[in-house]
Each structure stands twice: as C-alpha cells, then as structure tokens.
C-alpha cells in the first residue's frame, strides 16, 4: 500500500463508520431515499469541490466559488427570462463566462504573483456584486426543459431517487479523477503543490498550469451553478453564501493537504458525503435549536478531523515500524 493513499482509505472508513452509527440510532437513515438525497442535495457542492480539489492540490485556494454559483443561477435566469435562448445555449454561454472568470483569476495570481486567497476573495466580491447588478430579486425559471431536467431520475427500489443531478456530480468526480491522476496536467498540478520554485526548475509551465487550474475551478463552479439552478429552478443573488468554505472543508476532510501536493479527488467525494451525513443526522435528530445545530456541526467536524489525524498518525507510525 502506498502511504499517499492512506488518507483516502481513512476518509472512506470514517464515512462508513459514521453511517453505521447513524443507522444504529435512526434505522431509517439506511434507505435509498436518504442515499438518493445525499447525492442530489450535495450535487452542486460536490461539483464545486472537485474544482476546489485541484486548486488546493496546486497549493492555492478559490474563495469565489459560492459567489460564482449564485452568479450562474442569476445569469441563466436572466438570460432565459429576457431572451428566447434555449437553456442548453445559456449553459454553454455561462460555462464560457465562468471559465474565463476563473482563468482571469489564475492569470492575476500568476502574472502579478498575488496570493490566491486575496485574488479570489476579490473575485468573490465581484461575482456576487455582478449578480446583484443583474437582479436583486430571486427569479424563477419555468422553462419546460428545466422541468425535464428536474424530473430526470431513476426510482431506486425503496422509493429513493437517483437523480440526474446526482449523476452529474458522480460524472464530475470521475472526470476530476481522470484529470488529476491520469493526465500530464494533473501531475503538473501536484508538482505545483509540491513546490512552485522546484516545479519551475523541473520545467513545469507554471503560468499555463495556474491559469488552467483556476479556469477549471471556474468551469466547475459554473457547472455547480447550473446544477444549483436546476435544483432550485431559480436564480437568486443571495444564494450559496459561504459554500466555498463548505467545499474547502469537504476537500480537507477528504484527505487533501491544504498546503497542496497531496490528496485525491475521490476523497473529496467522501468529504462531501460526510458533510451531507452530518446535515442529515442533525435533521433526523430534530431537537437541536439553532445554536446547538451550529455547535454540533462544529463538534462533528472536529471529531472527524481528529479521528482522521489520529488514524493517519497511527498508520504512518505502523508503516515506519
């Protein structure tokens, strides 16, 4: 076993363990409904987190994700309201816009040697600000094509729904896995995360890679925006505040090192599912007041991270021995 895979296994193990514990308390949690919900409700987060994984693997960070998702919804809603465009055309246009937005962030980060945290923080303000300029209202989308997308699901035994949105997320994860682990670009991303100066000396095209990474994250955020727009059938400039932090947390819980250079895309999927599980558990519990909800989420987060850390340390020690 390669040591670098250990965090992934630990993440999966923790998720399974947590699911079992939840199941002991609420037997209903082990139903296709809950599993279906877990995939559907976290689809946009999962997609955004795949983009975030690549960014973090390269040693960067992208805080603009949540705002870009909100912008995407508004953009699509406004386009569909004001023009006769087909949603697919709107999607394509949007993906171009968000990809360009991401690329621009990457170009600034590389070209002016500014920290990613700050550039994308400004990007976060900018994307949401533009969403405000487009509309202040929440705009409903009632296009028949949207209903088709929303209704596209496979009814699993036990009434659970495996929706198109969930499928898109799984595809995005698969695509992310290929990109990160099986392409030259992916290796360059890891190289960048291992040390920019060294990567440069080894001949990695730093600038091009950086721009591509953030463009990819922008693309994924756009895709997440589309999924979110389908999910809610609306565009709302105030939506998905703070999603970037959830995405970062999911990536880290998924075993990716925040300082870059080490991690897996598959782990991110389990990070997302773990966060979703925490949410589900709290709703199932249903007795927590607002504040206890926050405290318990924090505690569970803490528990996951410490457990992960502990298992990793033990694993590493065992291997060294």
């Amino acid at each position: 076993m390669n040591l670098r895979r250990l965090p992934l296994y630990v993440t999966i193990a923790i998720f399974v363990l947590a699911f079992l514990l939840c199941w002991l308390q609420f037997p209903r949690i082990l139903s296709t409904r809950v599993v279906g919900n877990l995939l559907t409700d976290n689809a946009y987060l999962g997609i955004a987190a795949v983009g975030m994984t690549l960014v973090i693997l390269s040693g960067g960070i992208d805080l603009s994700v949540g705002s870009v998702i909100a912008f995407s919804g508004v953009f699509i809603a406004v386009l569909l309201r004001d023009t006769g465009m087909h949603p697919l055309a709107a999607f394509a246009l949007l993906l171009m816009v968000t990809t360009a937005f991401g690329a621009a962030q990457g170009a600034l980060i590389h070209g002016l040697a500014m920290p990613a945290f700050i550039v994308t923080l400004a990007g976060m303000f900018l994307a949401r600000g533009i969403a405000y300029l487009l509309t202040l209202d929440s705009i409903p989308i009632d296009h028949p094509f949207f209903e088709t997308l929303q209704r596209a699901y496979w009814l699993m035994p036990g009434k659970g729904r495996f929706t198109l949105l969930g499928a898109v997320m799984l595809l995005a994860v698969a695509g992310g896995m290929l990109l990160a682990h099986r392409t030259r670009f992916g290796t360059n991303v890891f190289a960048l995360g291992g040390g920019e100066a060294t990567a440069r000396m080894m001949g990695v095209p730093i600038g091009q890679t950086t721009v591509l990474i953030y463009a990819f994250s922008g693309f994924m955020a756009g895709l997440a925006g589309i999924v979110f727009a389908v999910y809610t059938a609306a565009g709302y400039p105030l939506a998905t505040v703070g999603v970037e932090l959830n995405a970062i947390a999911a990536v880290v819980i998924g075993g990716t090192l925040l300082s870059g250079g080490s991690g897996t895309v598959l782990g991110t999927l389990f990070g997302v599912l773990t966060m979703g599980l925490i949410q589900t558990y709290i709703v199932f519990d249903g007795t927590l007041s607002s504040w206890w909800t926050k405290i318990v989420i924090g505690l569970l987060l803490f528990l996951f991270i410490v457990l992960q850390k502990g298992l990793l340390t033990i694993g590493a020690a065992r291997r060294a021995a």
């Binding site: 809610t232 059938a233 505040v241």
Partner: protein, 293 residues
C-alpha cells in the same frame, strides 16, 4: 411535524422559533426542528430529510420564494402536507396546504402612510435603511413604503442604503447618512426595514447630538420589544407589527385538515398592526419581553 426554519438571524426570527415550539408543545405535537442557517440549499435538504423520515406535516419558512417546486412535489407525492410560514413561495398553490403570513408590501405601505399623515404638507427628506440586499422583505418593504408615500411630493427619499437587518450596520450606515445630510439637520425622518436597524440608528442619532423621535422621526417594522422601549422613551415613533405567531394558525389549519380533510384557504394573512407612542409602549414591551425575541 417537521419545521424548517430559516435561521436565527434576527430577534424576530428567534421569537418565531420559540413561539412555534410553544404552540407545538401546547398541542402535544412532536416538533422536529431544523435550522437552515439562512441557506436555501440547507432547507431543501431538510425538507427532503423530513420526507425520508416520514413526518406527518412540514412547516416551512422559506428563505426565498423561488425554487421549491421539486421538493414540494416530493412531499406531495409522499402525501405530507406543507404549510408555509411568514414568507411565500412562487410554486403552484396545489403544492402546499396553505401559507400563513403577513403581506410584506402592505407593511411598508402602513409605515409610509403613517409618515405621510404625520408630516402633512411639510417637506420631508427621508433616509431609508434597507434590509439585506436582495432579500424579499427588503424588496417588498421598500416597494410598500414607496406606495404608501405616493402622491406626497413633499416626501422625498434622499438616502437609501442597506443595513443588513442588523443593529450594528444600522448604526454605521445612519452615521454616514448623518454625515452626508449636513450633520442630520436636513433629515426629517428615518424609515428602517426592521426594528433592529432602527434601534442602532437611534443611537447614532443620539450620538450626533440630535433627538430621535423629535428631530428625526423614526418608523420601522416588526414590533420587537426593544423598539417599544425606545418608543416609551420617546425615541422612536412608530412600528408595524409582524407577529411571530405564525405557527398557531398553521397548526389550527393542520388540525382541521387531519380531522376531516378540510382544505384551508390558500393564504392566511396575519394582521399588520401599527403601533405608535400612544399605544402603551411600556406595556407592549413587558408583554413581549419573554417571547424569546
């Protein structure tokens, strides 16, 4: 019954949660509470979980109007009645049992009409503290107020900024307004989209050496306890009530529906009552204090 609450972003919201819990307890209803922390995505997930859990009914205080079709359909398929609290959704009315709430635009109108009456023909420069940019109360209450003062050319909204529904921002923004309007001498009235911002603004006015309630009229919406205290001290002039007891009518409607399938009306409107300094503010304060505002 599952209750998906928006969050606990304001005192009013906290009071609504408390009152809902009290009402449920009084009726012997087992309430599953879920706090969405101001996020629609969390609310949708919560409603889905309620459906998966198989609750008997769902109370939903939607954070936005749009985007509920799919999940409401799911609830409908599972034959779980949904009652909306205090805010509306854009979906087809067949997807929910009923909605309990006040009319946000109407609240703004009441406030605007009060001001129009109050100043008569005098010219009046109004500053407006808006709610969170893009939120439906902010949009509707702004609109309503403009409706209310329509036809009174002497009343002019000269400054309008968001105070995010919070006390601190209310105070900060009011300070800027005072700066911008000649130290406040040019301001005749303040309209705040909620009481919390008004309370913050009142402090700013006092610190600028002016008398709120006299030099600058203060009108706001919600009727939380602290604004009554200010009214009692003569520092605020009027507030429009938004009752936190949305759950009472909702449970009544649900009960009737469970008992004999009575379909309630699609919209149960609560009253938007105007309170002024003449309405025993101290008494109102004492009455509301314990409600968890």
């Amino acid at each position: 019954v599952g209750f998906s609450q928006i969050g606990s972003e304001s005192g009013w919201r906290a009071a609504e949660t408390t009152v809902t819990q009290q009402e449920a307890e009084a009726r012997g209803i087992d309430l599953q509470f879920s706090d969405a922390q101001q996020k629609q995505e969390n609310q949708i997930a919560a409603v889905r979980s309620f459906v998966a859990q198989g609750v008997d009914a769902i109370l939903l205080a939607p954070v936005v109007a749009t985007g509920w079709d799919a999940v409401l359909e799911e609830a409908k398929e599972a034959e779980i009645p949904v009652v909306l609290l205090d805010r509306m959704v854009d979906s087809d009315p067949s997807l929910y049992l009923t909605a309990v709430g006040s009319d946000l635009v109407h609240e703004g109108e009441v406030a605007g009409q009060w001001l129009a009456e109050q100043v008569g023909e005098e010219p009046c420069r109004v500053v407006e503290l808006q709610g969170t940019t893009g939120s439906s109360p902010a949009i509707d209450r702004a609109q309503g107020f403009r409706n209310g003062i329509e036809g009174h050319a002497n009343i002019e909204i000269v400054q309008s900024q968001t105070g995010d529904f919070t006390r601190a921002q209310g105070k900060t923004v009011m300070e800027a307004f005072l700066q911008a309007e000649n130290g406040g001498a040019d301001i005749c009235a303040l309209y705040a989209h909620n009481d919390d911002m008004a309370v913050g603004a009142i402090q700013a006015i006092k610190e600028a050496g002016l008398k709120p309630g006299e030099d600058i009229l203060v009108v706001s919406i919600d009727a939380v306890p602290d604004i009554f205290q200010a009214m009692a001290a003569g520092e605020a002039n009027a507030t429009v009530e938004l009752t936190p007891n949305m759950a009472g009518p909702a449970f009544d409607a649900l009960q009737a529906y469970w008992d004999n399938g009575t379909e309630p009306e699609k919209f149960i409107q609560t009253e938007s009552k105007l309170y002024t300094q003449a309405d025993d503010p101290q008494g109102e304060y004492d009455r509301r204090k314990g409600l968890g505002y």
